[in-house]
């Protein structure tokens, strides 16, 4: 990891003047993920454990789209934001896993 990468937003990177297409695609992708989630629950009758897993996967995918494309975390020069967002999610995840482990079982 060079210092260059660690510069947060400081690094200049001229990405091409991008049109809305990429974001519309990401948006449609999000909508599809959401629809799958809602439709599965509305239809019912699917195995509960499978549904839970499916819903969580849909949520995580959608969050990755938001963070990566719309909040630009996939772009260059975002090493520091990625580290700190990952840290926040990690601590949050620890708390959630602990809560599930002790309070449910």
């Amino acid at each position: 990891m060079t210092d260059h990468d660690l510069d947060g937003g400081a690094v200049k990177h001229r990405h091409r003047q991008e049109g809305p297409q990429k974001h519309v695609v990401a948006f449609i992708f999000s909508i599809i993920l959401t629809l799958i989630a809602f439709a599965t629950v509305a239809a019912g009758g699917v195995n509960t454990a499978f549904t839970v897993l499916l819903l969580l996967v849909m949520a995580v995918l959608q969050v990755l789209v938001q963070l990566g494309y719309w909040m630009h975390l996939k772009d260059k020069g975002h090493m520091i934001p990625i580290i700190f967002m990952a840290g926040g999610f990690f601590v949050a995840g620890t708390a959630i896993v602990a809560a599930l482990y002790w309070m449910w079982w």
Partner: protein, 630 residues
């Protein structure tokens, strides 16, 4: 457009209320932290007086509960945290060769919210009773069923406001260290104190939001009648313990890591040697921070988590001894073969090492879950955490204060008096807490206001009380030393210890408002030492002399904190009957709360609407000041 000379410069009190200069904010933190440290110290002495002899009736059981709660809460949140922030503010921008922090406005806001939160918490003494459920405020003890006064409300809301200030400070230092380093100062060339500040701030960022939520839940339970911790309605008291310790365990590393940084600087300076094993120190710091988030449940071994969880948390806790051990050995190897000078700062640092090791050893003992069932809630635990917090952190803070005092104030503290202070304090400390290990092992419980005679507790408790007063004398000697130092004229040499290694020693003491006339070029670790060894008297500048942009002073952070203070006070008394219809209306209908929030958000709006263009110091003025400063 704001020019250099049109900006309004405040004088006197207004200057301090509106300052955004990190060096002045450091002094504010030091004064406020010292004030709360004094209050916490007096509370400690009252506790020790009560426990000096069996069946004492110096204070009542209720007063004793209030004293222990406020002693713990005050010392941790309002005493040592701000003194840590004082050192960070005074030193970090200088160590990284910056003219200021990344967010001067937020820096000031962080201080004022901390101060008003602390004042709110301490207001409880005169407004119907202090919090009495211990600094951990475990439910259901802290619920409205068992804690009838507003004490715990003062705890939740006061800490909420003060915690906000700490979080803001943490974000500010992270951004400062990431973006404001001088040219050439890569991450692996940062001084150790900067590294520990960086890691501490990261921990603050991830730990404080958890307590924010915990305090909100407890506030809602107590004031809005929510059921988070109310078993009858399905709530779960153990949830509070998890949330509290998910914050609380990182918090103790938040406290100790800056002390590690201070010790690293002091030991290396006064051994005239580069810090031994710099990269392993960095690695150990990060590892301690990571493990610090993974061990919170070792505070809860006796809540019945089951053998698997207890075993995992046991092992994780014991693992922390490894990076800590790396640090201890690195300090020893730094001193090994060095030209050691035992200045007061170095005495405190040298006293820190064995004392902290003792606290660490009892920590590993406590980490063993089956043994912990025996130690739990006894004076053994009290002895352990005082060894790491007082014997570790407070000794580290004294080392740091003696070391950086000349840089902060341009005057040195008296060395002879400092040595007397060190010996009084450390002898008093070991007298107070060493015996408490044994008190705990033979069965004396913590948080109980008195004890029966002839259980073998009497003598050791008396020794402990005498030791506590000796520590008090040590602190008073320090205060005398401070007063005496202000009777000297200002203006010691920039490199006052003559062996300064890092950038803060390359500029005047105290530094001018803009810190560095020209941003220095960093050519290696221990940048200033490197230049001195190359035969240079000063740092090589990385830029030509030019006008320097400065942020304008502002009263808004102060006003925002006042708003939060009013809102907190208003919210707390929502359900009270004052026997007065006007007051009942004002509090019961959230008018006061709304007014306070309106002040806070109104000030935020003003800050957004009116841009601060700051002002410039012209180059000719710089030369002027440089002459005066040197």
């Amino acid at each position: 457009m704001a020019h250099a000379h049109t900006v309004k410069r405040h004088k006197g009190l207004m200057d301090w209320l509106t300052t955004v200069d990190h060096k002045k904010i450091a002094i504010l933190y030091l004064i406020a932290g010292g004030f709360f440290f004094g209050i916490g110290g007096i509370e400690a002495l009252l506790i020790r007086v009560q426990l000096a002899k069996p069946m004492n009736d110096f204070v009542t059981a209720q007063q004793f509960n209030e004293l222990i709660t406020m002693h713990g809460t005050t010392m941790i949140f309002l005493g040592v945290m701000p003194v840590i922030f004082a050192l960070m503010n005074a030193v970090i921008p200088l160590q990284i060769g910056a003219r200021d922090v990344a967010f001067p406005f937020l820096n000031s806001l962080g201080f004022w919210t901390f101060l008003f939160g602390g004042l709110l918490l301490n207001l409880s003494w005169i407004l119907g009773g202090a919090p009495d459920a211990g600094w951990t405020s475990y439910t259901p003890l802290s619920s409205t069923t068992y804690s009838l006064t507003h004490g715990v409300d003062f705890y939740t809301i006061g800490l909420q406001i003060a915690g906000l200030g700490t979080l803001i400070g943490g974000i500010n230092f992270l951004a400062t260290i990431i973006t404001m380093r001088a040219p050439g100062m890569s991450f692996m060339r940062m001084p150790m104190f900067t590294w520990t500040t960086f890691v501490t701030s990261t921990m603050i960022l991830f730990a404080f939001p958890a307590i924010t939520v915990g305090l909100v839940l407890l506030t809602f339970d107590r004031i809005l009648g929510a059921n988070f911790f109310d078993v009858a309605q399905g709530g779960n008291p153990v949830l509070w313990q998890h949330i509290f310790w998910i914050f609380g365990h990182p918090e103790v590393y938040i406290l100790i890591l800056p002390a590690f940084g201070v010790i690293s600087e002091v030991v290396s300076t006064f051994s005239r040697k580069r810090l031994f094993g710099y990269s392993s120190m960095v690695f150990a710091t990060i590892l301690i921070a990571f493990l610090g988030f993974m061990v919170w449940a070792h505070h809860m071994f006796t809540t019945g988590m089951g053998p698997v969880a207890n075993a995992l948390f046991s092992i994780a806790t014991m693992l922390i001894a490894v990076p800590t051990g790396i640090k201890i050995f690195n300090w020893l190897f730094t001193m090994w073969g060095g030209q050691i000078r035992f200045t007061t700062a170095n005495l405190f640092a040298s006293g820190f090492i064995p004392t902290f090791v003792m606290g660490g050893v009892t920590g590993v003992m406590l980490a063993s879950a089956p043994a912990d069932y025996q130690y739990h809630d006894t004076y053994f635990v009290v002895a352990h955490f005082h060894y790491v917090i007082v014997g570790g952190l407070v000794l580290g803070l004294f080392a740091g204060l003696h070391y950086w005092w000349p840089k902060m104030f341009g005057r040195v503290l008296n060395e002879k008096l400092g040595k007397v202070e060190f010996w009084t304090f450390i002898i008093g400390f070991h007298m107070t807490f060493f015996v408490q290990h044994f008190l705990g092992l033979i069965g004396m419980q913590r948080r109980v206001f008195t004890y029966l005679p002839n259980q073998g507790f009497d003598t050791m408790n008396l020794v402990s009380t005498i030791g506590a007063f000796l520590m008090g004398v040590g602190v008073i000697i320090f205060l005398v030393n401070v007063v005496l130092s202000f009777r000297q004229p200002k203006g010691v040499a920039g490199d006052v210890w003559e062996d300064g290694r890092t950038l803060e020693w390359a500029i005047a003491s105290p530094p001018p408002e803009y810190n560095f006339k020209q941003t220095p070029l960093v050519r290696g670790i221990d940048a200033f030492w490197k230049e001195k060894m190359a035969g240079n008297k000063e740092m090589t500048p990385a830029e030509p002399v030019g006008p320097i942009h400065m942020p304008s002073p502002t009263i808004l952070p102060f006003m925002m904190s006042v708003g939060l203070f009013i809102a907190g006070l208003g919210f707390m008394f929502t359900n009270d009957d004052f026997g007065n219809s006007v007051l009942n209306f004002l509090f019961g209908k959230y008018i006061i709360t709304g007014l306070g929030l309106a002040i806070t958000f109104g000030c935020m709006l003003l800050r957004s609407l009116f841009d601060d263009h700051g002002w410039h110091i012209d180059p000719d003025e710089l030369n002027d000041k440089e002459v005066k400063a040197s």
